[in-house]
């Protein structure tokens, strides 16, 4: 039996096409993933992200523990609700998972990790925690809804009480606030403004339905994937994994090298790789010929395979096929060929950020 989120029945009632996603029965789309994609770019859409794992990290050494566990440094977090994006690495510097950590107090942090990596993440976190005075507890009592788009904040606030509105008023990007029963974070995974909202599981469907009544369109995993790829955001297991370092996945900015005396898991391996230069890098591709790039296709220069597409799709906003590809660091060409089935098609190399705030960058 696959896991079901607290919102599962709402998806079934809305005639969602349900698929298995990392052991969860999740909505792929509610009819047209392209319509859902455009709703997020042009107005407001919402995603059930309750399958993601929320972990409470508490205890006297919570901060010390997370400063050792993560490549980014939670010591940067001084304001309650402030969030940080980080890789959680193995000793070789490979990415076990990418996550968001929220600072609540010096003895209480909230970590959100991916759904498909839940078991190995929790095992790793527990294992590292043995050396610290810290408790790791998974939250199973919340639904999580991402509301995204240029009108997302306005529409989400329209169903909040005055007290809740006051609590989220002026919330800055990458900051969260407790608003009554809601934990509201101004974060997201689409390149649009919006909130990721944790709501008690018993209230999840009611909250979802209220958002729908306020004009927020239900969107499935398929639209979430095209949106995040347009935004140039990595997907775990595709654009990076345990065999890939943050330096090879455009996540160099998430490594806090300073202060130098902070040890963290993977630091030695990363330091060595940085000195020598990471062997590979992640680039963006825009297909100039007709066709669609897909994960696994080879990137070719002068008849040599120089890399592989890690994510590829048709971008609904730009009408072009876009992709991320991991290639040899030495690649300097502005154009490459991509082996798409029996043909080699021309693609232009760009920064892997294709759409921002609804506008094409390519």
């Amino acid at each position: 039996m696959a896991n079901k989120t607290p919102l599962y029945q709402a998806h079934v009632d809305a005639n969602a096409r349900i698929v298995d996603f990392g052991g969860w029965d999740m909505p792929l789309n509610y009819g047209s993933q392209i319509d859902e994609h455009h709703a997020v770019r042009q107005d407001a859409g919402m995603f059930d992200v309750s399958h993601m794992t929320v972990v409470e990290v508490t205890g006297g050494e919570a901060k010390t523990y997370l400063r050792y566990l993560l490549a980014n440094d939670v010591d940067k977090l001084k304001e309650s609700g402030k969030a940080l994006y980080s890789g959680m690495l193995n000793e070789e510097g490979g990415v076990i998972d990418d996550l968001i950590v929220y600072y609540l107090t010096d003895t209480h942090y909230r970590v959100v990790v991916n759904a498909s990596t839940r078991d190995k993440d929790l095992a790793w976190m527990e294992n590292v925690a043995q050396q610290f005075d810290v408790a790791i507890e998974e939250r199973v009592d919340v639904a999580m809804i991402a509301v995204q788009g240029p009108n997302a904040i306005e529409k989400a606030q329209s169903i909040m009480s005055d007290e809740q509105k006051a609590a989220v008023a002026g919330l800055k990007p990458f900051v969260a606030a407790q608003a009554g029963d809601l934990f509201v974070a101004r974060t997201g995974y689409t390149g649009e403004d919006g909130y990721e909202i944790m709501v008690p599981d018993s209230q999840g469907i009611e909250f979802w339905n209220q958002l729908a009544a306020a004009g927020v369109k239900p969107c499935g995993l398929a639209a979430r994937d095209t949106l995040r790829l347009e935004a140039g955001m990595n997907l775990y297991g595709h654009d990076m994994d345990e065999t890939v370092s943050p330096l090879e996945a455009n996540m160099g900015w998430t490594i806090a090298w300073e202060p130098e005396d902070r040890d963290f898991v993977g630091r030695n391996a990363l330091t060595e790789q940085k000195a020598q230069g990471a062997p590979r890098k992640l680039i963006g591709l825009v297909l100039e010929d007709k066709g669609i790039m897909r994960e696994g296709q080879e990137v070719i220069v002068n008849d040599e395979v120089v890399g592989v597409v890690t994510s590829g799709t048709m971008s609904p906003t730009t009408g072009k096929s876009i992709a991320m590809a991991r290639v040899n660091r030495a690649l300097q060409e502005e154009q490459v060929l991509v082996q798409i089935r029996k043909k080699q098609l021309l693609a232009r190399v760009v920064k892997p950020s294709f759409v921002r705030k609804g506008e094409s960058l390519i």
């Binding site: 047209s32 398929a222 994937d225 007709k290 066709g291 669609i292 897909r294 799709t313 048709m314 089935r341």
Partner: protein, 129 residues
Amino acid sequence: MSQIPAELKYVSSHEWIRDEGDGVVTVGITDHAQELLGDVVFVDAPEVDSEVDAEDEIAVVESVKAASDIYAPLAGTIIEVNEELEDSPELVNTDPYGDGWMFKMKLADAGDMDSLLSADEYADEIAED
């Protein structure tokens, strides 16, 4: 429920075939197939004048999510492709049995039509999916 027009013939790989007379047929993908695919965003059509065998992979339909092969239902020669699909691949979703047709072919042996599935037989096949 998917539409399965009674006057057409089918193959289990979800192509429909319309007999246009004189051994010429029009081929597309079924309503059931387009529902499974979701939003079609690109059709890589077969080449006109190419000779194909039954079950050859001759075209590709790409939805946002995935690519799917289209097979020649019977042996013959491709005589025309639907050029409208180049600019409007979504016709495969909106009108799979009409404007969303994919190609026409001249059959090597018009008698081969007898080997195709009827609408009822195709309905039975997809009921087992």
